[in-house]
């Protein structure tokens, strides 16, 4: 035996030695202020005007500054603009820019540059920001540091749009020179400048010393690594290959809390998960579920939200019954969450005169979490007299079913907006672009229209309270829970404060 094996042995040994050496050398120290963040997916185009992914917004937080930002309490704070003033009639807003700011290519950040960006967002073909800035009629440059946005009608939601991708300011010179290539070599205004991107592997940024807030940026280099599998992402953090990860799986929370190599940070998000019911969109809405509110009420009464949260997510999320999460000024605690009542659910089904068990079809995305939730709902609803058939589809197909009205119920989420208009109008107004069940209630429409045109918080609260009450009654969506953003990071990372929007802001973050 040894005779035959001999020719390969020395080579084998050599390779083994080489690999062992590589393993030994691997323990090279990471640069002291190099933060490595694990993201759930890869970002899309790095151009704020055409970008659509959530993780893209995380990268932009380092790369591109916005006119304004908001803090964890959802209060607006200055970023590129230091102050802003609404006109008396609410149809114009004037911004003052911070003096002496520069883009990463050294060009000055002034009112002309801002106007160039906003005009691009409004007019460029393929801009996904057009609808967000739809109220803007014109932009006037008053002086190099002052500009005014004139609106067609009052729109209090504008500021929240300018605190996101619509308000991110890129270098006009780079936009002109790079054209469509900008997305692969972005030149922006944020605390970090673009270094390189290897698709599905990493996006690397380095500190921009010319940034107006450079004194509060302690990280020299940040690498974003997309790692879709939650277990693998968490293992990478535990093994020290990452310093921070977003969206830790709730089921890993226990392990993370007891692991001395890991710290956890969490916050309730602005988004929600819900059952979207087809009440008015094509032939598939023409069922007792779509047409008879009693059947939908029965379905809600069959559900125990806390149990779903406990079983599927180890109780990590915050249950809810309305578009905005608890803790925000547009959440209405007096509209209490419906408690499970199987007997009442059965009674309602009988009153509605439907056959029992009553068959319904529910679409879920083909992720483990969504399917688990689907199965829990299926078994809860069965006790109340529903026979839920689960159909599992991947995301792109599900979007198509929604757009075509080819569904009875879809378990679907919304990532959330800081202004309630984003959570309400899009999904519940009869002309809302994502109101895929075509829910239509004139009272809700009126409230949502007025709420997006008045600046007075108390009045808006009253209007959203009215809309929420109607929606809870009509149940075109049954809101289930508000997910929590769960981050895990190395004990070496300090100064990180989560925000309800889920975006990782690097101001004040340090590595020890």
């Amino acid at each position: 035996m040894t005779n035959q094996a001999r020719p390969t042995s020395p080579r084998l040994l050599a390779w083994a030695a080489g690999l062992a050496l590589a393993a030994a050398l691997h323990a090279a120290p990471v640069a002291a202020q190099h933060l490595r963040i694990g993201l759930q997916e890869d970002a899309d185009a790095l151009d704020p005007h055409v970008a659509r992914t959530f993780v893209g917004r995380i990268v932009f937080a380092g790369l591109c500054d916005k006119l304004v930002d908001y803090d964890a309490g959802l209060r607006f704070v200055p970023q590129l603009a230091t102050e802003w003033q609404w006109s008396e009639d609410g149809k114009a807003i004037t911004f003052k820019l911070r003096p002496g700011m520069r883009f990463h290519d050294g060009e000055p950040i002034d009112a002309e540059a801002v106007k160039f960006n906003l005009t691009r967002a409004l007019t460029m073909q393929g801009s996904l920001r057009r609808a967000e800035l739809g109220a803007v009629a014109s932009i006037d440059v008053i002086d190099p540091l002052t500009f005014r946005m004139n609106l067609r009608e009052p729109n209090p939601t504008l500021l929240s749009q300018l605190a996101d991708r619509s308000g991110m300011i890129m270098s006009p010179k780079a936009l002109r020179e790079l054209g469509t290539g900008f997305a692969t070599r972005p030149v922006c205004s944020g605390p970090f400048r673009f270094v390189e991107r290897v698709s599905q592997d990493r996006i690397v940024l380095e500190k921009f010393d010319g940034h107006w807030d450079a004194a509060n940026i302690h990280i020299q280099r940040v690498t974003y690594r997309p790692i879709p599998d939650t277990t693998v992402r968490f293992s990478n953090l535990q093994a020290g290959a990452l310093d921070m990860i977003e969206r830790l799986a709730p089921n890993d929370l226990g392990a993370a809390r007891t692991d001395r190599r890991v710290r956890v940070a969490e916050i309730v998000s602005l988004g929600f998960q819900s059952l979207l019911i087809n009440t008015n969109h094509g032939p598939r809405s023409e069922t007792p579920l779509g047409r008879d509110p009693r059947v939908r009420e029965a379905l809600e009464l069959s559900l125990d939200r806390q149990a779903i949260n406990q079983v599927a997510f180890a109780g990590a999320h915050a249950i809810g019954n309305q578009p905005m999460p608890p803790g925000t000024e547009y959440h209405f605690a007096d509209l209490a969450v419906t408690q499970r009542n199987v007997a009442r659910a059965r009674q309602l089904l009988q009153e509605a005169g439907v056959p029992i068990p009553f068959p319904i079809e529910m679409q879920v995305i083909n992720s483990t979490d969504a399917q688990t939730v689907g199965q829990i709902i299926q078994s809860m609803a069965r006790e109340a007299g529903f026979e839920v058939r689960l159909s599992s589809v991947e995301f792109a197909s599900s979007r198509q079913s929604q757009a075509r009205g080819d569904f009875q119920i879809i378990q679907i989420g919304w990532s959330g907006r800081m202004d309630p208009d984003g959570n309400y109008y899009h999904n519940l107004h009869s002309r809302g672009p994502t109101n895929d069940g075509k829910y239509s209630n004139p009272a809700v429409d009126r409230a949502l229209e007025e709420a997006r045109s008045v600046n007075d918080t108390a009045r808006r609260q009253a209007l959203y309270r009215e809309a929420a009450g109607n929606v809870i009654q009509d149940r075109p969506r049954i809101y289930l829970w508000h997910p929590k953003w769960i981050y895990a990071h190395s004990p070496r990372v300090s100064g990180f404060a989560p925000n309800p929007d889920g975006i990782i802001r690097l101001r004040g973050v340090r590595m020890q």
Binding site: M1, N3, Q4, A5, P7, T8, R11, W15, L19, L21, A22, A23, L25, H26, A27, A28, D42, A43, D44, A45, V50, R52, T53, Q125, G126, L128, R130, A131, E132, T180, A183, T184, V198, S199, Q200, D201, R225, I227, D229, T231, V232, S235, N236, Q238, A239, G240, A241, V393, E394, F395, A396, S397, R399, Q400, A403, W414, S415, H426, P433, T434
Partner: protein
């Protein structure tokens, strides 16, 4: 030999064309609308209309295919719909990664599989043969995904001996690059090694009973010479074919291993592109890997001739 090469290359052109037609056709059967996915949560109708127009999503499939083909013939594989990165750049970014992983995995497979197959054949029926068979069966049956996660948990998380995954270009740090390749190459290679082991064993068994081997032994040659120079040489022919096929497969990406070890190779690129309905990327990568596959098979044919002079005619 030259004529053989040219005729083989000529046959491969229609094959490539058929592959692209098939992939294009199958993609068009997929449900789901990329424009809706790309438009993001806001679902702005103007944005959706623009995406449809820009990527010709409303055109009939044959027209889209022809447009793509014309582009490809001009050397342009198009841009990723999702990231706007040129497909050629994406392929050039992934190729060294996938090639490197394929190389190391193949090396692991060859270094384990072939010697184990020879030993098992030579020592047929002994404890060594049974052990090699049992280990081979285990190598075949253990899912890559599970083995990968286990290795990460133990070797990377518990012992901290190797990085849990990711890819470092060798130009950045050769040590990190090699360290990062050890576990994925082992996971991928062990499965292939088992296949090699079983094929080598059976090919060697039939070679060892052949007349020429008996003659070689009768001439009084050393057993080692008989096995390595006479039996193994013939036994290797089917193993080379298999190796080329396996290597071709490795070049089209190892999705599960790449996912577990977070390696940005072809496998993850294609899978994500399919889920995103990123047609240009899927088409470009398929075209590229199909070409690689065909070339590797051609290489295998040439290797036969080297190993077995009778095939040179």
């Amino acid at each position: 030999m030259q004529g053989f090469l040219l005729s083989r290359l000529a046959i491969s052109m229609p094959t490539l064309l058929i592959v692209t037609v098939l992939v294009f056709g199958l993609q068009s059967l997929l449900p789901g609308d990329i424009a809706l996915v790309l438009a993001g949560e806001e679902n702005d109708p103007a944005g959706i209309a623009f995406i449809r127009e820009k990527y010709r999503l409303d055109d009939p499939v044959p027209i889209r295919y022809l447009a793509w083909l014309v582009q490809v013939v001009q050397g342009d594989l198009g841009h990723s719909i999702k990231t706007q990165i040129p497909v050629t750049d994406l392929i050039l970014q992934k190729l060294p990664v996938t090639a490197q992983l394929a190389f190391w995995s193949m090396l692991v497979a060859l270094l384990i599989g072939i010697p184990a197959g020879i030993i098992a054949a030579v020592k047929k029926g002994t404890a060594l043969d049974h052990t090699a068979n049992a280990v081979g069966l285990a190598g075949l049956s253990i899912p890559n995904f599970w083995l990968g996660i286990m290795l990460i948990m133990v070797v990377a998380v518990e012992w901290g001996a190797l990085p849990p995954g990711g890819y470092t270009p060798p130009t950045e740090s050769l040590a990190d690059n090699l360290a990062g390749m050890i576990m994925p190459a082992f996971v991928l290679g062990s499965g292939i090694a088992a296949v090699f082991m079983r094929h080598t064993r059976s090919a060697m068994l039939s070679a060892l009973t052949a007349d020429y081997v008996r003659t070689a032994r009768a001439k009084g040659l050393f057993e080692r010479t008989v096995i390595v120079k006479h039996a193994l040489r013939n036994a290797l022919v089917p193993v080379i074919t298999l190796g080329a096929l396996e290597l071709g497969q490795l070049f089209s990406g190892a999705v599960l291993t790449e996912t577990v070890f977070n390696i940005p190779g072809f496998g993850r690129l294609v899978v994500e592109a399919v889920f995103n309905r990123d047609y240009a990327v899927v088409q470009g990568v398929v075209l590229f890997t199909a070409t690689a596959y065909i070339l590797l098979n051609l290489l295998a044919d040439l290797l036969y001739a080297l190993v077995n002079p009778r095939l040179r005619g």
